[in-house]
């Protein structure tokens, strides 16, 4: 039921405007801070109107922070993670919805419960695996006694080669790719696709891969866009994981990691030069913001899923 009364209209708008102001004021302060010089920013109270040092501050932040290559790194990682997540989600949900095999729902629920285990919770074991990808298998080999058996029988000590993902794009991207949210979103989408479509494709002679590629993927475009938006922002904003596995900051540092180093960090020296730090922050915020702005039409449609 939609009610239209002037008083309610004014009230709802008041609430909306209050919320908007509460959201925007901090951003405004960040922006204002990034346009003043060192002295003005540190006066109390800080001015609430932009100053005239904007261009100098931003150029300085960009050059001294080295945000060019860092943003590129962030971009590579975000795109990689997003693409990987979509691919994995689409394929695993396809398997769960369209194929009948034993323990199918068990697998689905196993994927689903990983929602409760975000990266931060399992960061130590994940780091251990990233440092030596084959280590779990080595440990399985040793613990099961298979390794010992092999060494007594054949006199060979079986040790798997070490493969470290530290300080690499692979390490930044791969451990973040598995996604319960995405799989769930895709599963829900597949469930809305009528069975007859799959059957029509079968009658047309299309195999499972063909059906997936020609019918399901194009149909899931809005879904994909929604997922891409969320995941791009999520992976662009990754902080803890890159900080942990990247020691070669010069080559693999990401933009968000770099932010940590500018206030009051080693890049600009003490005391904190907030005006430049804020300029850097705003610049790092821009790409995910643009993605959201461009994708929002698709984003909403993909999540609401009404046009079917």
């Amino acid at each position: 039921m939609v009610e239209r009364t002037p008083i309610l209209n004014i009230l709802t708008h008041l609430i909306l405007i209050t919320g908007l102001v509460m959201l925007l004021v901090p951003l405004w302060i960040v922006f204002v801070a990034s346009t003043h010089d060192f002295r003005t920013v540190n006066t109390v109270p800080m001015p609430l109107w932009p100053g005239n040092r904007m261009i100098e501050n931003y150029t300085l932040a960009w050059n001294q922070g080295g945000f060019g290559p860092k943003m590129l790194n962030s971009f590579i990682v975000a795109v990689g993670v997003t693409a990987g997540k979509i691919a994995i989600a689409a394929i695993s949900a396809y398997s769960i919805v369209y194929f009948k095999y034993r323990f199918r729902s068990l697998f689905f629920w196993l994927i689903f419960v990983t929602l409760m285990l975000p990266l931060e919770v399992r960061i130590v074991p994940t780091y251990a695996v990233a440092a030596n990808v084959l280590r779990p298998y080595q440990e399985l080999l040793d613990a099961s006694g298979l390794g010992a058996l092999l060494s007594t029988l054949m006199g060979i000590k079986v040790s798997l080669p070490e493969w470290s993902m530290l300080n690499s794009y692979t390490g930044l991207i791969l451990p973040l790719i598995a996604t319960a949210t995405g799989t769930f979103l895709y599963r829900q989408f597949y469930l809305t696709v009528p069975d007859e479509l799959a059957e029509a494709a079968k009658m047309d002679g299309a195999g499972p891969l063909r059906f997936f590629w020609d019918v399901l993927l194009p149909l899931s475009r809005t879904n994909m866009a929604a997922l891409a938006t969320i995941m791009f922002v999520y992976s662009w904003n990754q902080y803890l994981w890159p900080l942990l596995i990247i020691t070669d900051i010069a080559n693999y540092g990401t933009a968000v990691m770099q932010l940590q180093r500018i206030v009051p960090g080693p890049l600009f020296g003490e005391p904190p030069r907030w005006h430049i730090a804020m300029a850097g922050t705003l610049m790092v915020m821009t790409p995910p913001l643009l993605v959201v702005i461009f994708m929002q039409r698709w984003f909403v449609r993909g999540l609401v899923q009404t046009d079917k």
Partner: protein, 372 residues
């Protein structure tokens, strides 16, 4: 050559069996309609022919080859689905041509065939549209074109008209009939609409609860339903069915309220006394004017009329059971008023009450035909 041979085919899901050992032989070029209420297993049977359902028991052969273990695409069937099942993101042309694209037909040849098929179903001006921009009837045509373009040996229709409005349904029915006359492909059509079934079929297969009740030409099924189920299902309205008892002489039927009816001894010479179900077509009953002399027929009480345009259906009650009488013209009866009915003995059809099967009559008409 694409005759379809269905032998002792059954289907079960776990422990529930939905199709129980069905046999149908469909000749090449024949149009067979499988008719039955929802849940009778007719769609399952069709999907087993198509290869969309696994066959639990028995064999299906198309063109003399057993196809039980073949993929749908290897069976040479095309199917029209109830909800059309068009690919929503593809244009009409892409929808029609998708099967050929999968089969690897080069683009130019594909385009030519798509255009040719689209022309035959009157879609040639809609090729660039998406299914969402088409009306129900047009979508149905796209689905037909998509089936036709593969030049299949067998057409399978899974209640393709049930989503259309009444007028369009009649129109599409005629188009399907015409199409079959032109292409002469073996067709199996599943429906729950008996009018659709009667008008389209060369032969009707009537299914109920996973078994076949009767197979035959529409007219034969209408004239001589093999069981109480078929009798009640075929025709609009279905056969009037009344519970009665055959007297000790085997020549009279008596209803629960004591009214009696003579049996035609030439058709039913040796009836066993006992309970029986009597069937009478609504068209076979006539209402006699109250003034006309002594009466040997039945007495019923009037309930209400249904206006048909070409006549009326008079709903009445006899011996506590409903009865429908078809009359030409208009009859102004009041609720509760008594109707005198003439029931020609040769129109009575008798069914065994226990088995529900027809009690076969000695066919007088055939005898006369043969004598002539």
């Amino acid at each position: 050559m694409a005759q379809i041979d269905i032998r002792n085919v059954s289907k079960s899901y776990g422990k529930t069996q939905v199709v129980h050992g069905v046999d149908i032989a469909i000749a090449d070029g024949e149009f067979v309609v499988i008719l039955g209420p929802s849940g009778c297993g007719k769609s399952t049977l069709l999907r087993m022919i198509a290869g969309l359902e696994e066959i639990s028991g028995g064999t299906v052969s198309i063109g003399g080859e057993v196809v039980n273990d073949r993929e749908p695409r290897e069976r040479g069937c095309a199917m029209v689905f109830q909800n059309y099942a068009l690919y929503p993101h593809m244009s009409v042309a892409e929808n029609i041509g998708y099967g050929l694209k999968v089969a690897g037909v080069p683009k130019q040849a594909r385009q030519a065939r798509v255009e040719a098929v689209a022309r035959t179903v009157g879609l040639d001006t809609f090729l660039d549209r998406k299914p969402g921009q088409l009306s129900g009837g047009q979508r149905q045509r796209v689905a037909m074109a998509r089936a036709m373009i593969k030049e299949p040996k067998v057409f399978l229709f899974d209640e393709p008209l049930s989503n259309l409005d009444a007028k369009l349904r009649v129109q599409m029915r005629i188009e399907i009939r015409k199409l079959h006359q032109r292409l002469k492909a073996t067709s199996v059509f599943v429906t729950h609409d008996q009018v659709e079934a009667m008008t389209l079929a060369d032969r009707l297969v009537i299914m109920n609860k996973g078994v076949i009740e009767q197979i035959g030409a529409p007219k034969d099924v209408y004239d001589r339903p093999a069981s109480v189920f078929v009798a009640g299902f075929i025709g609009a309205p279905g056969l009037n069915l009344l519970d009665a008892t055959i007297g000790a002489d085997g020549l009279t039927l008596s209803l629960a309220d004591g009214q009696r009816l003579p049996v035609d001894p030439a058709r039913h010479p040796a009836l066993k006394p006992g309970p029986v179900t009597v069937g009478i077509r609504a068209e076979a009953l006539t209402i006699r004017p109250a003034a006309a002399g002594p009466h040997a027929g039945l007495r019923a009480s009037f309930d209400f009329t249904e206006e048909l345009g070409v006549g009326q259906h008079i709903h009445a009650e006899i011996s506590g059971q409903p009865l429908i009488i078809h009359v030409d013209g208009r009859h102004p009866y009041r609720p509760g008023s008594a109707l005198l009915l003439d029931v020609p003995p040769q129109e009575l059809q008798l069914f065994d009450q226990e088995t529900g099967l027809r009690i076969q009559e000695t066919d007088v008409l055939t005898c006369i035909d043969e004598a002539a």
